[in-house]
Every structure is written in C-alpha cells, then in structure tokens.
C-alpha cells in the first residue's frame, strides 16, 4: 500500500475520520498546554480525579431533568469546578498541599455521586451516557470542544505571564500585585472546562490521556514553558493521528490506540529525549569522564 493510501486516504474517504481529526486538533491546541501547566504544578493526576468529581453534579442533573445531556454535563461541570475551587481554597488558606486537598474533595464528591445514583433505585448507568467516543463526535460536541480550545488559547495568551509566575513563584506574584488567586481560579476553570468538554465528546481515557501524556513526554524535549506547550501539542497531534490510523488499519479500538501511541512516544522520550533522557544523560556522563 502506498504512503498516501496508508496515511491520507482514510481521512479523504470518511467524514468520521475527519471529525475525529478535528477533535484531536482541538485537544492538542487546548488541552495539551493546560496539561503542561498542570504537570508543572504537580497536578498530573487531576484529570482522572475530575472525571470522578463531576459525578454528583451529573447525578443531580439527571434527578432534576432526566436524561438531558445539557443538564447532566452542566451539573457535572459545576460539581467538578466546585471540587477544584474548594481544594484551591483549602490550599491557599491552610498548610495543606494542592494534591492532598484535591484528593480529599474528589473522593467526597465521588462518594456523594454514587450515593445519589444508588438512592434512585435504578441501575441506570449515567456515566456511560456522559462519556462519548472519538468515532462518534457529533456537531454539538465538535463545536463545544473547538470553542473551549479557542477560549483556552485566548485565555492563555492573555494571562501568560501571571500564570507562569504563579506556577513558579507565587510569592513574587503577590508582591507585585499580580492577582494570584484570580489566575489560579482561571487555570482551574480552564482545566475543568477542557476536561468536561473532552469527556462528553471523546470519553475519559482520551480526554485525560491527551491532556497529560503529551505534557509529560514534552518535558524530555523542551525547557521553556511556551516550548513545552508547543511540544506537547505536537505530540498530542502525532499520537492522535497515529492512533486513529492504527485503529483504521489494524482494527483496534480508537481511544486506547491513541493513548497507547502517546504512551509509546512517552517511553521513547524517556530513552531518546534531548533533555534528561537516558541516552542524553549517558552521553553527557561519558563526556565528563572521557576527555
């Protein structure tokens, strides 16, 4: 099979492949830079926690409005945001670190959500309805993730300096009156928005996977915050396209394939990455010892 037939033809022939590609581009542009910031703040496990934290909101939405996707995802967004903001508040006002307070609140939220669902008495699997699949992205979902990605880019551009400062030296930011809490809240809102939109369009695995994996892999290639974001975006794009093509040519499920390709890139980065990869460190050590 020619290169064109392998790499390009599937996208030319099928609209669902093109839509999946657009969704991946939106994730790469919006979520990957956010993922970098999360990794810098040692919040890499946030994504998975948020997928559980939105449960009580979704359950409440279901109890109020039945199987309305708007009510459930809106409720989920609010719940996840409340959890994120509460944990941020606790971090800022007590000695507790962010990951600890987040873990506590998301577990509370998850238990609350399970409780709410169970009291209804039916074995309705809410969560499956909330989480989509990359092969079935419909127009509203596509619009939603594209909007969120655009808004994220704009917000990041607008808040770039305070955001970076807040990650590395919040005391300095406070000293120069940079509105630390506002920036922190903004980052959390962006994160939750990207994740919830991603869950609904693409499911948890893909949404969290393409937010975090490219960001962690990018650390082996780039050193500035902006170049980290670009590297993560490129890796996310590569993983997305690679995984989709794998699913198409080798009959593998799409979501897991994409995340596994991202994982393979991560492993390759550990070995071959220019910044701190195993080979790079080995060659540096050889240079010092050699001479």
């Amino acid at each position: 099979m020619s290169g064109y037939a392998v790499l390009v033809q599937p996208f030319v022939d099928f609209a669902f492949m093109r839509r999946a590609l657009v969704a991946i581009v939106a994730l790469a542009v919006g979520s990957a830079p956010i993922g970098c910031l999360l990794v810098l703040r040692r919040m890499s496990l946030l994504g998975d926690a948020i997928s559980h934290a939105l449960l009580p909101g979704a359950a409440l939405g279901y109890l109020v409005a039945g199987f309305s996707l708007v009510a459930m995802s809106g409720g989920g967004f609010v719940a996840a945001l409340v959890v994120a903001l509460l944990s941020a508040a606790v971090t800022r006002t007590t000695t507790q670190r962010e990951d600890a307070s987040f873990a506590a609140f998301y577990l509370i939220a998850l238990a609350l959500g399970v409780l709410l669902i169970s009291t209804r008495g039916s074995s309705v699997d809410l969560v499956r309805v909330l989480f989509g699949s990359i092969l079935a992205v419909d127009d509203p979902a596509l619009l939603m993730i594209a909007t969120v990605a655009s808004a994220t880019l704009l917000a990041l551009a607008w808040m770039y300096r305070p955001l970076v400062l807040e990650c590395f030296d919040p005391a300095y930011l406070r000293a120069v009156g940079g509105g630390g809490p506002a920036v922190h809240v903004a980052l959390l809102v962006l994160t939750v928005a990207n994740l919830v939109a991603g869950f609904q369009a693409l499911g948890t695995l893909m949404s969290v996977g393409l937010m975090i994996l490219p960001a962690v892999a990018a650390r082996f290639w780039a050193s500035e915050v902006w170049s980290l974001g670009v590297a993560a975006g490129l890796i996310a794009l590569l993983a997305g396209v690679g995984g989709l093509l794998l699913s198409y040519h080798r009959e593998l499920p799409a979501g897991p394939s994409i995340v596994l390709v991202a994982g393979a890139i991560y492993v390759a980065s550990i070995v071959a990455g220019r910044r701190g990869g195993l080979l790079a460190r080995a060659s540096r050590r050889r240079r010092w010892r050699g001479a």
């Binding site: 599937p10 022939d13 099928f14 609209a15 669902f16 492949m17 839509r19 999946a20 169970s118 039916s122 074995s123 309705v124 699997d125 499956r128 309805v129 989509g132 699949s133 092969l135 079935a136 992205v137 419909d138 989709l244 699913s247 198409y248 040519h249 080798r250 009959e251 593998l252 499920p253 799409a254 979501g255 897991p256 394939s257």
Partner: protein
C-alpha cells in the same frame, strides 16, 4: 381486646412463590407461566443493559430471599456467579436456555437465544418444569398457562414469518448497535451487521465503522437501528455519513417500561418484526 380479636380474625394469605429472574424478558416469561401463583421480580429491569449490569447489595438480598432463580445462561450474565456467592444462594436455579443449541463463533457463544421463537418455546418449557418442581400443587396451572403461551408463540411466529418473507431479497441487510439479533436473523433470513459484538462493553474501532459506512453507502444496507439499551451516537454518525436513515428503535436485551410499546415479550417481538418490515420495504 375486641379490636385485637377483629384484627386476628382472618387467616394469613398463602405465601406466593418468590421468583427472581435475571432480566426483564425472562421475568415476563416467568410471569406468564406462573400467573398469580408466584411473585416475579427482575434484577435487570426494562431498558437496562444486562452485559454491563453491576449488582447492588439490594439485589443480593432479593436473590437470597428467592425460592427460584431464573437465568439465561450461555454466559449472558457475567456478574451472576459472584452475586450467587455474595448472596449465599442455596435455592433452586433454572437455566432457561437448557437444551438449546446456541450459535457459535469459534469458542464464543451468542447468548441472545430468545430472539428465535423456537428457543423461546424451550425457555417456557424449562420454566414450567422448574416452577412445577418448586410448587408441585400448582403444576397443572403452570402446564395450562405454558401450553396457551406456546400456542401464542406459534401464532406469532407464523405472523412474523409472513411479514418478513415479503421483504425483497436485495433488502435483507441492516445495521444494529450490538450483535443481539443473530438468532432472529438466522430464523427469518435477514443479515444483521453490528457495531459491537455480542457484548456491549467493547469499544468500536475505526475499521469496523468504515466498513459499515461503505456497505451502507453502496445501498447494501437499507436501514440502521438503534436499540433501547445502547448509546445512539455512533449509529447516528454512521447514518449521517452513509445517508441511510436511522429507522425505529429495536428492543434487544430488555423490554420497555410497563405501559409502553414493548413491555411484554410478545409485544416486543411483534414490534421488532414490524419495524424491520417497515424499514425494509415489506
């Protein structure tokens, strides 16, 4: 004293046989055969998916208190063994599909045997035998109801066969969300293509989706059906891209809620047949 005497005057009503069925279709069949001589409950209710069911402690309690447990078998209820252990169930168990020759693909078995009415007759017979063992005094009533139902099944089969045979041979291919209708397809000569296999917990892959869209585009598939238990989004995507409409909802592994169009097995089967015939131009 007088009040207490008045209260204690009537003898307590006889305790009905407590039957618990694994899902709504079996519960309906059990209700028909048992009539008022048993109370029947289903673990997996209407419009719910048996493949991904997760039992709760309340379900374990219901099982423990049951006199007769009715299950499909053929590996349909993957959660059953653990539930039986958790509930410490030592009562009677009837596997409704006993004696049926299942469809196979390699080592795997298609569990949806009730979609072939000849198998359903077997289910009813197995139920009758089990109920008669559990309540021998009512055996005659069970036999009477089972016989009447088998006549109804026979009439249904004849009606459905007549309707579906009117479908032209080039139109006998449809897409459903999961592969639940293999037995029906084999019985009446319709090919069912599915997005997911025999269980609903697998993720679809791009190759299968592409293949189904191609088939639909070449007009070799006439209609796409979503089921009452599944997520319609992928089916809608395929429908939009291939230009083949999503026809009605088919009821596969669960009845619909009481008071709606497919709340008994007979009505469910009739509804499915009508929807197929209407979509395929019969």
């Amino acid at each position: 004293m007088v009040a207490a005497a008045a209260r204690g005057a009537a003898p307590p009503p006889p305790v009905a046989l407590r039957v618990v069925a694994s899902f709504s279709i079996l519960a309906d069949l059990a209700r028909v055969v048992a009539g008022e001589d048993a109370s029947v409950a289903a673990l997996v209710g209407p419009d719910a998916d048996v493949h991904v069911f997760e039992p709760t402690p309340a379900d374990a309690r219901r099982v423990r208190d049951a006199d007769l447990l009715v299950v499909n078998g053929l590996h349909f209820e993957g959660w059953l063994d653990r539930l039986l252990e958790a509930a410490q169930y030592r009562g009677r168990l009837v596997v409704a599909s006993d004696g049926i020759v299942p469809r196979r693909r390699g080592n795997a078995i298609d569990p949806h045997a009730w979609q072939d009415l000849r198998n359903t007759r077997r289910y009813v017979e197995n139920l009758r035998a089990a109920l008669s063992l559990a309540a021998p005094l009512k055996a005659a009533d069970f036999a009477r109801r089972a016989a009447a139902y088998e006549v109804a099944l026979g009439e249904l089969d004849a009606r459905v066969r007549a309707r579906l045979s009117a479908i032209p041979p080039t139109a006998r291919r449809v897409i459903t969300t999961h592969d639940a209708f293999g037995y029906l397809g084999a019985a009446y000569g319709i090919e069912f293509l599915a997005l997911q296999g025999w269980s609903t917990d697998a993720e679809p892959n791009a190759s299968d989706v592409a293949r189904l869209i191609e088939l639909a585009r070449q007009a070799r598939v006439r209609a796409i059906f979503v089921e009452n238990i599944s997520d319609p989004r992928l089916a809608q995507r395929i429908s939009a891209e291939a230009g083949v409409p999503v026809a009605a909802t088919l009821y596969s592994d669960a009845l619909s809620r009481p008071g709606t169009e497919a709340d008994t097995f007979l009505r469910m089967f009739e509804h499915n047949a009508d929807a197929l015939a209407a979509a395929l131009g019969a």
